[in-house]
C-alpha cells in the first residue's frame, strides 16, 4: 500500500520537474529547523563553557581586585607553569596518574588472568569484582576515609588490632594514622581500588578475544604456560593494555573527588584539578584558574588523541583478521 503511494508520489514529482527540486529543498529545511534548538542548546552547553574558559584564561580577572580586570596575555599560563604550588600540583598529578594507572593495570591483569579460567561461580565472582567501579567516586572516597583509614574506628586498624589480639598483644598493635602518614599513597590506594575493575574488564575482553587455535598451536610447538603468556598472550594484550592505560589516564588526570574528600588537597596531595578549584573558589583568581584548566584540557586532549589512535588500530587489527 505504502509502496504504491510512494510510486505515485515520485511520478507526480517527476511531472513537476524543476519545481520539485526547490520543493525538496524547502522540505529538507522543514525537517531540519525543528532540530535547530536542540543543536544550539548542545553547542551552548558543551562548547561555550570551554570557549569562556579559554577567553578568561587570557584575562586578568580576580574577584578581590575587580578594578584590574583586563587582557593579560600569557601571564596566567606563565604563572601556572612557574608558580611553585601549581608546579607541584602538576607533578602530583603526574605521580598520581602514573602510579594509579600502572598499579591498577597490573592488578587488573592478574585478576583478568585468574578470571579467564573457568571455575564454579565465575559469573558471580566477576560481578563482584566489577562493583568497585560502579560505586559513586565521592561515596567510595568517603568510605575509604572513614570506614577504612580512620585511625580510631577504621577497618584497617581494627584488623591490625584483631591480628595482634590473636597473639594476646592487642594493646601493642600498630595503629598508624594512615592519611597523615602516607597522604598521597592513601589517595592512590583508594583510586587503585576503584580503577582495577575497569582495567580488568578491558583486559578480560582482550584475553577472551585471543584466538584459541593459536594458543593450541603454540602448545604443540612446545611452549609452556609462561612462554605462551610471554609470546602469545602479552603481544595480543598490548593494545588492550595501552587502551586501558590511556582511558584510565584521561579520567585520573581529572580526578578531584578523592583528593577533595580524603585529604582536601593537604600534605602535598593537591593535584591540578584541586589546585584549580582552590584558585577559583579560595583565591578567586578566575584568570589563573582558567589557565590551569586549559592546561588540563590540553594534557587530556594529548592523551585522548593517543587513546583514539590505539582504539582505531585495534579495530583495524580486528577487521583484517
Amino acid at each position: 500500500m505504502s509502496v504504491a503511494v510512494d510510486v505515485g508520489d515520485r511520478a507526480a514529482s517527476r511531472r513537476q520537474g524543476g519545481a520539485s527540486r526547490s520543493l525538496r529543498r524547502s522540505g529538507d529545511w522543514a525537517r531540519r529547523v525543528p532540530l535547530l534548538p536542540a543543536l544550539i542548546f548542545t553547542i551552548v552547553v558543551t562548547q561555550l563553557p570551554f570557549v569562556a574558559t579559554l577567553v578568561i584564561s587570557f584575562m586578568n580577572w580576580n574577584a578581590y581586585y575587580p578594578n584590574e580586570r583586563g587582557f593579560a596575555g600569557f601571564a596566567n599560563f606563565r604563572s601556572v607553569l612557574t608558580d611553585v604550588a601549581m608546579r607541584d600540583a602538576i607533578i602530583t598529578t603526574i605521580e598520581l596518574t602514573v602510579t594509579v594507572v600502572a598499579v591498577s593495570l597490573l592488578l587488573g591483569l592478574v585478576v583478568a588472568l585468574l578470571l579467564d579460567r573457568s571455575f564454579l561461580g565465575r559469573g558471580a565472582v566477576r560481578t563482584m569484582m566489577i562493583t568497585p567501579f560502579l560505586v559513586v567516586p565521592v561515596a567510595a572516597a568517603l568510605l575509604w576515609k572513614h570506614a577504612l583509614y580512620n585511625p580510631e574506628y577504621g577497618l584497617l586498624n581494627g584488623v591490625l588490632k584483631g591480628v595482634w589480639g590473636l597473639f594476646g598483644a592487642a594493646g601493642s598493635a600498630p595503629q598508624p594514622d594512615w592519611i597523615t602518614q602516607m597522604p598521597l599513597l592513601s589517595v592512590e590506594i583508594a583510586l587503585i581500588w576503584q580503577w582495577t575493575p575497569f582495567m580488568m574488564l578491558i583486559l578480560l575482553a582482550g584475553l577472551q578475544s585471543r584466538p584459541l587455535d593459536v594458543i593450541e598451536a603454540a602448545r604443540i610447538d612446545g611452549a609452556g604456560s609462561w612462554q605462551i603468556f610471554r609470546y602469545m598472550t602479552f603481544p595480543h594484550l598490548r593494545q588492550y593494555l595501552e587502551l586501558g592505560a590511556l582511558l584510565g589516564s584521561i579520567y585520573i588526570v581529572q580526578n578531584f573527588d578523592y583528593v577533595f574528600t580524603i585529604t582536601s588537597g593537604g600534605l602535598g596531595t593537591a593535584n591540578l584539578p584541586y589546585a584549580i578549584y582552590q584558585t577559583f573558589y579560595q583565591a578567586h583568581d578566575y584568570g589563573r584558574a582558567s589557565a590551569a584548566g586549559v592546561v588540563v584540557v590540553i594534557g587530556t586532549i594529548l592523551i585522548a588523541t593517543l587513546a583514539l589512535r590505539t582504539v582505531s588500530s585495534l579495530f583495524r587489527e580486528e577487521t583484517s583478521r
Binding site: 593459536v214 593450541e216 610447538d221 612446545g222 602469545m232
Partner: protein, 369 residues
C-alpha cells in the same frame, strides 16, 4: 619418525552422553599417510586432537612409536599440527612463525635461520619471510602453516582439513604438493578431511569414521571395491553408489523389472540370516545401457545428463516402480560420452554381472558375493 597406535581410544565430552570417539583402534605405520574421513561431526577432529594432546583420552591409550603418550602434554609428544585456519601467530613474521618451535626448544639463532631458510626454499616462501601473516594470501598462509610443521622434523604430522579454505583449483594443486612433500620427507602423517576425493587421492590408507566409530581402514582402491558396509559404500565414490532395497525372489534379487542373479555364497549367507530382502549397491560405472528385452534390464527416465567431456553421467528415475526404494528412485549411471541419451528419453540399464555389492538389510554389513 614413528608409527602411531590408537588402542580403544575413547573421548567422551562432559555433558554429552554419546562418545565423540568410541573405542578407536587404529595402527598407522611408520611413514604412512593415513587419511581420516567421514561426514561432519563424526569425530575426525576429535581423534586428531586426542593424538595431539589437545583433547583428553577418557579410555584406552595412544602410542607414538613405542611410547605411551596418552597422558603426555602436547609439547612432549614431538608432533606438528596444521590447523584448518592455519593458526599462524599474528604478531610474528613468517620467519618467526616457522622458527618459533625451534626457538622454544632452545636452538641457536644460526641453526634456526638455517632450518627456516631450508623449509622456506622447499615451500617457495623465501620472499615472504619478513612479512606478517595478515599480509599473505590464503594459499601463502597455508604454506607457512606447512612450513611451521616441517621445520621441526617431528615424528608425526597432523593436519586438520588444511585445504578447506582454499579455492577449488588451488586445493587440487596443493593436494598433490602435500602428498609429494610427505612422500619425500617420509614423516608419518594423519590427515583429516571430509572430502572423500581428497581422501582417495592422498592417502596410503583411508580410515572412514561415522558417529565416532571406525567403519573401515583400507587402501583407497579396496575401500572403493570392497566397502564393508552400506555406509562406506555410499560415502566413498563420486558420484555416489546407487543403493536399492531388493527382494529375494528364488535365486534372484528383484526390484520391479530389475533382476540380478545371486551367487551361492550370497544365498547361503542370506538363508543363514533368514532374510528375504537385501541391500544391493552398484556404482554408476557398473550399469550398462542395453536393449529393452535383455534379461534384468530396467527402464529409466533420463532427468539430467551431466557431460564432463571424458565422462557422461545419467541422472534418472526408475519408471516402473513409482516411489521405489532406490534412494528416492533416483539412479546415476555412467554412459558413453560420445553418444549420451537425451533428456527425457527412456533408456534400459542393466547391472554388469559381478559388479554389484551386496549388503544385509538388517545389519548393513557386506555379504559374500
Amino acid at each position: 619418525m614413528a608409527s602411531v597406535t590408537f588402542s580403544k581410544a575413547t573421548r567422551i565430552y562432559p555433558s554429552v552422553p554419546r562418545p565423540a570417539v568410541d573405542a578407536l583402534d587404529l595402527e598407522i605405520e611408520d611413514g604412512e599417510f593415513l587419511v581420516l574421513v567421514g561426514p561432519s561431526g563424526c569425530g575426525k577432529s576429535t581423534s586428531l586432537r586426542m593424538l595431539a594432546g589437545l583433547e583428553e583420552v577418557d579410555e584406552g591409550s595412544i602410542l607414538i612409536g613405542d611410547r605411551d603418550v596418552t597422558n603426555l602434554k602436547p609439547k612432549d609428544r614431538d608432533i606438528a599440527m596444521v590447523f584448518q585456519n592455519y593458526a599462524l601467530y599474528p604478531h610474528m613474521t613468517v620467519g618467526d612463525n616457522m622458527g618459533f618451535a625451534l626457538k622454544i626448544a632452545g636452538n641457536s639463532k644460526e641453526e634456526i635461520g638455517k632450518r627456516v631458510a631450508e623449509a622456506a626454499r622447499i615451500l617457495d616462501l623465501e620472499q615472504f619471510l619478513d612479512r606478517k601473516p595478515k599480509a599473505l594470501s590464503g594459499g601463502q598462509r597455508q604454506r607457512v602453516a606447512m612450513g611451521r610443521a616441517i621445520v621441526r622434523s617431528p615424528q608425526v604430522f597432523l593436519m586438520d582439513e588444511p585445504l578447506s579454505n582454499l579455492d577449488a583449483k588451488l586445493r587440487v594443486q596443493t593436494r598433490t604438493e602435500i602428498a609429494a612433500l610427505q612422500r619425500r620427507l617420509g614423516v608419518t602423517t594423519v590427515y583429516v578431511t571430509h572430502d572423500q576425493v581428497e581422501a582417495m587421492t592422498m592417502g596410503d590408507r583411508v580410515a572412514v569414521l561415522k558417529d565416532g566409530i571406525l567403519q573401515q581402514v583400507d587402501t583407497p582402491l579396496r575401500l572403493y571395491q570392497q566397502p564393508v558396509n552400506v555406509f562406506v559404500a555410499a560415502f566413498i565414490g563420486s558420484p555416489g553408489m546407487n543403493i536399492g532395497h531388493f527382494e529375494l525372489d528364488g535365486e534372484e534379487a528383484a526390484l520391479g523389472r530389475a533382476r540380478l542373479r545371486l551367487s551361492r555364497a550370497t544365498l547361503d549367507a542370506l538363508r543363514e540370516e533368514g532374510a528375504d530382502r537385501l541391500v544391493l549397491g552398484f556404482r554408476p560405472e557398473a550399469l550398462e545401457q542395453v536393449g529393452a528385452d535383455e534379461p534384468g534390464a530396467f527402464p529409466v527416465q533420463v532427468s539430467v545428463i551431466e557431460e564432463l567431456g571424458s565422462d557422461a553421467f545419467l541422472y534418472g528415475a526408475l519408471t516402473d516402480i513409482p516411489g521405489s526404494s532406490v534412494d528416492g528412485s533416483h539412479i546415476i549411471a555412467r554412459v558413453d560420452p560420445s553418444r549420451p541419451p537425451a533428456k527425457g528419453d527412456v533408456v534400459h540399464l542393466r547391472v554388469r554381472p559381478g559388479m554389484q555389492h551386496i549388503f544385509s538389510e538388517s545389519t548393513g554389513r557386506r555379504l559374500p558375493d
